[in-house]
């Protein structure tokens, strides 16, 4: 590692976080008017927009329709200015195709697809600024967009990443940590059911360390879930209060 200490002797990471500390999460649901649901989410410097269209009639050839459940269609795209070095095109490359597939699989596991046979749901994710954890931010933003669109889901899906540095597991890793640390673990879970719907690990990690990292990442997911759920509930309470006025009137 070229002169870069990912974890200082005092136990702080390069951006000043503690090993188990998340980046600041901020979000807003309903940023767009025309989509059925939308959300904007920031995890530190990673910024993502997600939009949901549908469920609606199958677009294009009707042959794609599934007779017994909803067809989920995803597109993952990165703004050409989102990365440190400019991207030549926003999508179509191998990496974003793979990401598109991962998103599709993740959300197929949680949306109650059997309720909507023969129709289609579009989930579009646009990364505006990338600083590590693109998949995680995309999943979390898309979850919020689905909630905004009122799409029935089994639970939230929350994704979080983690790594292992200097014998210490770290969570919610940023771009620098992604590119210099050894292994990276990405997990998407259904927080209330403790079910894992997606897991990816690249690079090598000793078996003994894996469970330690996993524990931290699962905790990270829980923390993210709490943050998201609290704000979603607050907004609903506000709306309930407004409706009460009307019902009374």
């Amino acid at each position: 590692m070229a002169g870069m200490e990912l974890l200082s002797d005092q136990g702080f990471r390069t951006d000043g976080r503690k090993p188990n500390e998340l980046r600041r999460i901020r979000f807003k649901k309903g940023v767009f008017k025309q989509a059925d649901g939308s959300a904007y989410l920031e995890q530190g410097n990673t910024k993502v927009l997600a939009a949901v269209y549908g469920p609606h009639e199958i677009r294009g050839s009707k042959g794609k329709a599934l007779h017994d459940k909803l067809l989920i269609n995803c597109q993952y795209s990165m703004a050409t200015f989102s990365t440190q070095d400019r991207k030549r095109r926003p999508r179509g490359d191998r990496k974003s195709q793979e990401m598109t597939m991962h998103l599709k699989q993740t959300f197929n596991a949680v949306v109650l697809t059997e309720l909507f046979p023969k129709v289609q749901l579009d989930i579009y994710v646009e990364v505006l600024q990338s600083d590590g954890g693109n998949y995680c931010a995309s999943v979390n933003a898309a979850t919020l967009a689905l909630i905004d669109a009122g799409i029935p889901m089994k639970d939230y899906v929350i994704a979080c990443s983690g790594s292992f540095v200097k014998d210490t597991p770290i969570v919610d890793i940023n771009h620098l940590e992604e590119s210099t640390a050894g292994a990276e673990i990405i997990v998407a879970v259904l927080p209330r059911f403790d079910q894992i719907v997606f897991i990816e690990m690249n690079s090598r990690l000793h078996e003994d360390h894996l469970s330690r990292v996993m524990d931290q990442v699962m905790n990270g997911c829980k923390d993210i879930f709490n943050i998201l759920n609290q704000q979603v509930k607050d907004e609903l309470c506000k709306k309930a209060a407004i409706d009460k006025l009307v019902d009374a009137g």
Binding site: R59, N73, Q75, F81, Q84, R91, Y124
Partner: protein, 288 residues
């Protein structure tokens, strides 16, 4: 874009409302919808801006890069426009669905900015005959609510205003001149955008014309005129679009409107950008 297939009576209603100078949403023919601007919200870029015009939403990021000069124009820097129609705006843009629209908008922008007075191209040249800055002006269209060209051009101008080009120190080496780009975020120079144009689109509806047409109004228009207009009222590019034709008097009237609105737009934009500069607040981005 959204639902723009209107019924005959709806079209007639819009036509008459334009005739009456009382549009569907209460605006007059030369009124713009209100607009919100923010700059410097994408920290990965050298300059960025977001413009929201009613429900039309545009995000622009500019990145600068050192590049060899064009041998035919050895004394100037270059700009390059790229526009991506995000599927977030409409499923029709998925995959390559938005490319046609994108190339239309970038073509108009390129023409508007091809005039040397638009920005100071010579200041973008570091070593005449050798190295210059290339500005990648990347535009992301996030939501479509009518009048895309104008909104995009305003966002581009705002992002250029926000642009911070790192300073470069040159040291003479035996092999030639070495360029060293400063990585201090406060060591930068700005670009003079006073000559940069905005695009004003004027739609002909019935016998009248409107600026800043909504999507419904655009669906009722058979011909429009687009002009790149600077703060001084100079025209840097013009184009007529649409399947209808126009007589020369109405073109004269339309470009007159475009000029007046264009001058006002440029003024308002510059004022508000200067106002923003004076504030030291965290960008709100999409959070509000």
């Amino acid at each position: 874009m959204a639902d723009v297939d209107l019924s005959e009576p709806e079209k007639v209603y819009i036509l008459h409302s334009v005739q009456e100078n009382l549009r569907e949403d209460g605006r007059g023919c030369e009124d713009f919808r209100h607009m919100e601007v923010e700059t410097g919200l994408i920290s990965n870029t050298n300059g960025s801006a977001r413009v929201r015009l009613a429900s039309t939403d545009v995000l622009v990021g500019i990145k600068v890069q050192l590049t060899p000069v064009d041998p035919k124009k050895p004394n100037v820097g270059r700009i390059e426009f790229f526009l991506d129609c995000s599927a977030n705006a409409t499923p029709a843009f998925e995959g390559r669905g938005g490319e046609g629209l994108a190339s239309e908008i970038t073509a108009m922008l390129t023409r508007s900015y091809s005039c040397f007075s638009a920005i100071d191209y010579t200041s973008l040249c570091l070593l005449p005959g050798q190295q210059c800055w290339l500005l990648y002006i990347d535009i992301l269209l996030l939501e479509c609510g009518g009048n895309l060209f104008d909104a995009v051009s305003i966002a581009v101008k705002a992002a250029l205003f926000n642009l911070r080009i790192p300073n470069v120190t040159m040291t003479k080496d035996e092999g030639g001149i070495e360029l060293d780009v400063s990585d201090d975020p406060f060591d930068f120079k700005r670009l003079d955008v006073s000559g940069a144009p905005v695009i004003v689109t004027v739609n002909k509806i019935g016998h009248q014309h409107v600026v800043d047409a909504s999507e419904k109004e655009e669906a009722c228009s058979l011909a429009k005129v687009m002009l790149g207009i600077t703060e001084k009222g100079t025209v840097t590019a013009m184009k007529k679009e649409g399947s209808g034709s126009l007589d020369s008097e109405s073109i004269s009237e339309m470009i007159e409107s475009a000029k007046n609105v264009g001058i006002e737009l440029n003024k308002c934009l510059l004022n508000i950008l200067k106002e923003e500069e004076a504030k030291i607040e965290e960008p709100v981005g999409f959070l509000r």
